[in-house]
């Protein structure tokens, strides 16, 4: 009860601090980040209009925008985006949950580490795509095999990140918890959990990044919808504008998903004393 109150107080305080940080970052960072791609697009568009470039293989931004708009207007784009996001969401969710659990287990128990880690490391050495034929045999050509592939791709960075984070928790800080006679559970909750949070978030972000990588692989290998399908379809029908439209969607979705993790977790990390913060 009392603990919840302090926590509540803390999150409020943190939320205030982080909205400040977020708004300054939105104001500054966002605009800076857009300068390069927008300038490049305008330049290419101008070159195209001036007749300086051949547009057959690299359509100008206006054509890509037009294709995108058509896809969006027909509702087709939404279907593809949802299909892709669902696959990434399910695969990433599965891989991340298992990764966090196994990482926490091997990180906190040396017996578990000695038992499990060698096997997991060996499995990690296998390129994830090598599993595809097996997954298709086992799970069929539809959603389950795709989600399994994405989950495997997301699992390893999360697992490694969480295990490493626990192993790297400062002994001196853990000792503070011991000196205050925390039980094992409380030690995990009040010391280990907050201590590993920053590294865990980094691990989740790289896991999600791989999730988007593997969803493309899964969709290219056979799907009737999804952004990856748009890529293949664009290739087969010779529509580079559709390919580029899909790529653009991937860029936006990937960036947005990463940004979402960042924004959602920033209130939890406002205590950090790091180089990035001071800069």
């Amino acid at each position: 009860m009392s603990e919840i109150q302090t926590l509540d107080l803390q999150t409020k305080r943190n939320a205030r601090a982080s909205t400040r940080a977020a708004s300054s970052r939105l104001g500054g960072g966002f605009v800076y980040g857009l300068i390069l791609p927008v300038a490049a697009a305008l330049l290419y568009e101008a070159a195209f209009r001036a007749g300086l470039v051949q547009a057959r293989l690299l359509p100008p931004p206006s054509r890509i925008a037009e294709t995108l708009w058509k896809l969006a207007a027909s509702g087709e784009l939404l279907t593809h985006v949802i299909a892709t996001l669902l696959r990434v969401g399910l695969g990433f969710g599965l891989g991340a949950v298992v990764g966090v659990l196994l990482g926490a287990l091997t990180g906190s128990s040396s017996l578990a580490r000695r038992l499990l880690d060698p096997t997991l490391q060996a499995l990690r050495a296998i390129p994830s795509l090598a599993w595809v034929p097996l997954f298709i045999l086992w799970l069929g050509i539809f959603e389950p095999s795709k989600i399994a592939l994405i989950a495997v791709g997301c699992f390893f960075p999360v697992y490694l990140g969480v295990m490493g984070a626990i192993a790297n928790v400062d002994r001196k800080i853990v000792e503070v918890g011991r000196a205050f006679r925390l039980s094992r559970l409380m030690l995990a909750r009040r010391i280990l959990l907050p201590a590993i949070l920053p590294d865990t978030i980094v691990a989740l972000r790289s896991g999600l990044g791989l999730g988007f990588m593997f969803v493309v692989a899964a969709e290219i290998m056979g799907a009737s919808e999804g952004l990856g399908y748009l890529l293949v379809d664009g290739q087969q029908l010779g529509k580079p504008d559709q390919i580029l439209a899909a790529i653009l969607c991937f860029a936006i979705l990937g960036k947005a998903a990463d940004w979402l993790i960042l924004v959602a977790t920033r209130p939890l990390l406002s205590w950090q004393d790091s180089f990035a913060r001071s800069g």
């Binding site: 009860m1 302090t6 001196k172 503070v176 205590w271």
Partner: protein, 262 residues
């Protein structure tokens, strides 16, 4: 009150850190542990705190054996060791989890006031200076009202002026609840300024070399003859403890070892 009986500590790597150390400390007494590097001062504190178990011997507080961290014993480490994800106020309240929030808040406010950090409660540890952080870590250990407070060179990382100020702060804090205080220090002046007794240790293996009473009233005038005499006595014992190391520094002249004791 605090009683160490025949403590032996041999670390896993074979290092013989303590050899048959016995020490009795009265309730409310301030004892300074002084000694050259590696003579087992930190080890001794860790045994008393229950963070480490002795190879032989026992530690007891008021007759109760200490085998694991105990509510009667608080410890201040050499570094502040504040939890970076908790605010200053939450750090101070870390050991008060069992109290209702309002009571905890009052205790924390009072503690902040006492160490001159009123209003610093909502800050993050990263926003504190070294001296401020160490003050927070001292009150974090003190708010739980331990009967015994252990401090491992708490001011060694600070400049001389800050150190003297914090020593006064510490005495004022100690005054309030008068816990038994076992303080490791490298600083002979610090020992003379704070302690009722200075226990000088000798290395390889760690033993007690001398036990020097400092019978001066508080507050102490650091320029008074009695204070200077106490410092000289402790320094003399320290020199003796080092010149008697078998082999190592045995042949060196006394003034050399005086300079190299730390």
């Amino acid at each position: 009150m605090l009683s160490l009986a025949h403590l032996d500590k041999v670390y896993g790597n074979g290092a013989h850190a303590l050899d048959d150390v016995s020490l009795d400390v009265e309730a409310g007494e301030i004892v300074a542990l002084v000694g050259g590097s590696g003579c087992g001062k930190t080890t001794l504190l860790r045994l008393v705190s229950g963070l480490e178990a002795p190879t032989h011997g026992t530690v007891s507080v008021d007759g109760e054996a200490i085998a694991a961290p105990h509510p009667a014993v608080g410890i201040v480490f050499q570094e502040p060791r504040l939890l970076p994800w908790l605010t200053v106020a939450q750090n101070i309240g870390f050991g008060l989890d069992h109290l209702p929030a309002s009571e905890r808040r009052d205790l924390v406010e009072e503690a902040l006031l006492k160490v001159g950090l009123a209003g610093y409660g909502p800050r993050w540890p990263r926003e504190l200076s070294g001296g401020q952080a160490q003050r927070v870590s001292i009150v974090r250990a003190l708010v739980t009202k331990p009967k015994v407070l252990l401090m491992d060179e708490p001011f060694s990382a600070l400049d001389a002026l800050t150190r003297a100020t914090l020593q006064d702060h510490l005495l004022a804090l100690w005054e309030a609840s008068q816990p038994t205080l076992l303080l490791v220090t490298h600083d002979v002046e610090e020992a003379a300024a704070l302690a009722d007794r200075a226990v000088v240790m000798q290395p390889r293996p760690g033993r007690i070399f001398a036990d020097i009473a400092v019978p001066l009233p508080r507050p102490r005038d650091r320029l008074s003859p009695g204070f200077v005499e106490a410092k000289r006595a402790i320094l003399g014992a320290l020199d003796g403890s080092l010149s008697q190391i078998p082999g190592a520094t045995g042949g060196k002249p006394a003034e050399m070892s005086a300079g190299s004791w730390w």
